[in-house]
Symmetry: none
Subunit: 181 residues, 2 copies
DNA sequence: TCATCTATGTATAATTT
DNA sequence: TAAATTATACATAGATG
């Protein structure tokens, strides 16, 4: 797709890899967006950059997609015999943990925000510099909160995926099998 | 990419839509696979077909990605670009207000989260119903926090646009804004 | 570095089998 | 009806500013 054909294998040069990641992530999300619109499909994506930063895409949003998974199949593939209360369902445990973590974080960020807020009020005579700084700080704060929300979303989505059939692009056999259903 | 250009909007014909979905899902997963190999990135995708069938892709596998999410520490994204321009108090005021609001919300949601968390722990024998309810509640919580973050982002975007009549190219914030409408 | 450009490879809409 | 083909549109690797 570019000036030259490239082999599909790990890009060695760190910088090039980062650039490639950035471009292709953008492309991937764009494709996902088109798919969702063209087909009315719900889509959720989570990606870790080479530097381990999380990015996510969701349409309409990751929450809805996750919620739909739940409605999808109440227990189609479970031991329906008795509503055996899986009290130590590992998924439940992990979700609970995640929820607790996000809440902790929210509280933490809120506290940080208070400090920030107060500091900024002192500057209220406002120079350009201050505005710029505030933008930067606010962006960081938002970024953190968003990261936590995204993380939890992703986590939930991942757990839900476990219950679903997984397909790899090259796996034509799996594809065929599924069509039969 | 095909014989003719198509508008990115819901494909009306059911059959065509299904075909398009199938082709594009394959393409999306292929891209995701390439991204993961080229950049050593972890990727997970969930998609619902127009017929509401779930499909997913994960590399190295969905569980690993999920596990990594648990470990991940949020890193702030680089501060967004800013350039020099004159500005004055009103903008500062509004931004300050917005920031304060977000912080308030964070605190509020954190509190709600505590209640939720506790309530859920009681249920830790966990039936399907409870799991579903928890998902729903968690989703609502996340949505609210997200809404506020988005709001603030939008706010900031507008202010920035005012400040610098210099147009930005496809800016992420602007993109988001457009999607909301 | 960082965005923009562009020649080329890839994905895919329409068509054919 | 689905699979294969083909003509185009799109994505992007490397170049360039």
């Amino acid at each position: 797709m570019g000036r030259r054909k490239i082999e599909i294998k790990m890009v060695k040069d760190t910088n090039t890899r980062q650039v490639t990641f950035s471009k292709r992530r953008t492309g991937l999300f764009k494709k996902a967006n088109e798919l969702s619109i063209l087909c009315g499909a719900e889509v959720a994506i989570v990606v870790f950059s080479p530097g381990n930063k999380p990015y996510s895409f969701g349409h309409p949003d990751v929450d809805s997609v996750a919620a739909n998974f739940l409605e999808q199949e109440p227990k189609s593939n479970g031991p329906s015999s008795s509503s055996s209360s899986s009290s130590n369902d590992p998924n439940m445990e992990r979700l609970n943990q995640q929820l607790a973590d996000v809440m902790d974080q929210s509280r933490e960020e809120a506290k940080k925000g208070e400090v920030l807020d107060e500091a900024l009020k002192k500057y209220n005579k406002t120079k350009v510099e201050d505005l710029k700084e505030m933008h930067a700080l606010a962006a960081e704060l938002r970024s953190k909160i968003r990261a936590h929300v995204n993380e939890m979303e992703a986590m939930e989505a991942m757990l839900l995926i476990k219950e679903q059939p997984v397909e790899f692009p090259e796996n034509h056999v799996a594809k065929r099998l599924r069509r039969k259903n």
